[in-house]
Amino acid sequence: MTTATLDPDISARRSALGRRILPYAMLSPAVLVTLAIVFFPMVQTAWMSLHEYVLFRPNDFNWVGLDNFRAALADEVFWISLKHTAIWMCTTIPAQLLLGLITALLLNQDFWWRPLARALIIIPWALPSVVIALMWTWIYDSNYGVANEFLLRLGVIQQAVPWLANPDTALASIILTLTWQGFPFFAVMILAGLQSIPASYYEAASIDGASAWRQFWHITLPGIAGVMMTAVLLRMIWVANSFDVIFVMTGGGPGYSTHTLPLYAFIKARTNLDFGYGSSIAVLFTIMLMVVVVFYLRRTGKAVD
């Protein structure tokens, strides 16, 4: 959305009415589908958050107003989870972005095995989360995991480390796993973005004698900035919401060391069947995320118009 909107008188002359209706006509299928399938349940859930609603006591659906929200804000676990969610987002996304950017730049070069490299790079992203989570749990295992064996042989550590059982390393271990899983997304998205930079720009720069670094800084980066900002935005929301890998790897433990807010909402709703409370956490979380997103959009100058 870097270009300013609308100009042409040409199209204005073409059909003023068409121009007013066309955008809505083109949008309506997507809007209608998402409204019906997601928005409606979302409103229902928000409604639930104002009630005492424990799934296995369907008859005690009582209006409690903001009690669930008050309880959540007074809940120690809520704040612990919020802290972890913040750490989790602030480390995973930059790591994924950086690795993804480097990968995309490399994959945009010419070398004879490029097609193969491009295909193989998406494997982590193409694997079901549960398989990834179990595989990495096994890799991290302190009794027979390959990570410990590898590091022991290299002499980096003296003793097998229980990566996931130690509260100091559990979150970091999961962040590494998520980085591994998510960076191909950035790589593919940025790689596609790189294609919209005309080759002529580089040719002109080369003729002017610009160094590779200057070309990257003045041509490549501005060229993919739009795509990169969007990819970061979408990944932010996705990473914030993804808990399946954590759920399988540690279930949020040990203790609360790897609890994040969506995971906490999941456990409350799905395991404890407390839909009222779970919904209120989800609503609070969505509001906070919205604030972050709007702030991000402002900062990156990507305000929607």
Partner: protein
């Protein structure tokens, strides 16, 4: 579409009379630790014996089994019959999701063949029969007979002995300064309350619903914490270890004892041969406590044809078929004749199970039990093990949950 089978929860009785035998379909949910899916064989046999009843058996992933069951019940699309565990019964009763089967059992010839007392054991908290047992296990202590023999140790029968034996078994076998074998593989993640229970709930007047905050109750939890923190007889990964880790570590020779049931016996023998054996868990605080692992089947109250559904579930608990079922799950049959001909596990493990049955206990019949198992116990235990809270606090939290 299966939505045609949806009826209101309350109308089950009315339907019972109107149900026609011909062309009933029973939707059955189960979970098996067996990828080869032997359920097809049972369904085929049943359908051949009962023309007119069709079984739609669906294998639901275990780790989502109960979430999925509750969702489908509340969403109005529950199966007609399902495999269920006792801990879920209070919630299912509160939901009004279970169909009483007292009369069906009274009229069923096969009831007399079930192991004595089992049917009564799974009765609902309201005195009504909803569950029909289909398999059972009792947890016992697995130990490395070869390591005990090498060190000249006896199998521990009390907690004090257990502590000494576990300390002795924790060794650096290759002299590199690192511990290679740990005395006991403790399950600190979900499901590990079975281990904790042995050390805590055996004590006099200590149970989950009463006396857990007493001195004896707290001492039990402290005993577990000390084993990990002071004696270091658990592997350092214990707080996050689930069943696959404890079983894996035991098979790999990283631990010398652990608590589990006969379901893993064959795998252990495959890996360790005669080096592995089993005995009842040690008595702690003066009494013995071990977990009773149950699995029953139930007819759900929205079943279109509860009679057909009962026919199917009782088929699974009848002679011969119960053997087939348990061969698939690796647990023990509930039918007397099937149990006496049981050859699937080496005898020493069957004997250890039978010797453990007297001490085997059920978790309280309360809707708090699910939360205890799924979240309260694992979180609190892990926090105790990593030193975030004390044993008193953990037991107080459990007490608070059950007294709600």
């Amino acid at each position: 579409m299966k939505s045609s089978s949806i009826v209101g929860i309350a109308s089950a009785l009315a339907l019972m009379t109107s149900a026609a035998y011909a062309d009933s379909t029973v939707r059955f949910w189960y979970h098996f630790d067996n990828a080869d899916n032997p359920m097809d064989e049972l369904v085929a046999t049943f359908e051949a014996e009962n023309p007119g009843i069709k079984i739609d058996a669906e294998n639901v992933p275990w780790n989502s089994y109960y979430d999925q069951l509750y969702t489908s019940i509340v969403g109005g699309n529950a199966p007609d019959a399902a495999m269920v565990k006792l801990f879920a019964q209070p919630r299912l009763i509160e939901l009004g999701a279970l169909h009483p089967i007292d009369d069906d059992i009274a009229n069923w010839d096969g009831a007399a063949n079930i192991e004595d007392g089992l049917i009564d054991l799974v009765k609902g908290g309201d005195g009504t029969q909803y569950y029909l047992p289909v398999q059972y296990v009792a947890l016992y202590l697995y130990y490395r007979a070869d390591m005990l023999a090498e060190l000249g140790l006896e199998v521990p029968t009390t907690c004090d002995e257990f502590r000494d034996v576990a300390k002795a078994l924790t060794r650096d076998t290759d002299g590199d300064g690192q511990t290679d074998v740990y005395g006991f593989g403790f399950r600190g993640a979900k499901g590990g309350h079975d281990h904790w229970g042995t050390f805590v709930l055996g004590a006099q007047d200590v149970s989950l619903t009463d006396g857990i905050t007493s001195e004896a109750g707290v001492a039990g939890t402290q005993f577990v914490a000390d084993l990990f923190q002071k004696d270091q007889v658990f592997p350092p990964s214990a707080p996050n270890d689930g069943f696959q880790e404890i079983i894996g570590a035991f098979k790999a020779g990283r631990t010398a004892m652990t608590i589990h049931h006969i379901g893993s016996a064959n795998g252990m023998v495959e890996a360790l041969g005669d080096k592995v054996s089993a005995a009842p868990v040690p008595a702690c605080g003066g009494g013995s406590w071990t977990a009773f692992g149950d699995e029953s089947t139930a007819v759900l109250s929205n079943a279109e044809d509860p009679e057909a559904a009962f026919k199917w579930i009782s088929f699974l608990s009848s002679e011969g078929h119960n053997t087939t079922f348990n061969q698939a799950t690796g647990q023990l049959p509930v039918v007397k004749a099937d149990a006496s001909n049981w050859t699937m596990h080496p005898e020493r493990f069957v004997e250890a199970t039978q010797a453990s049955v007297p001490a085997a206990q059920l978790l309280p019949s309360s809707s708090a039990t699910s939360d205890f198992v799924n979240t309260v116990w694992p979180t609190n235990m892990q926090r105790v093990l990593i030193g975030e809270i004390s044993a008193e606090e953990m037991n107080a939290n459990i007490d608070a949950l059950f007294s709600e």
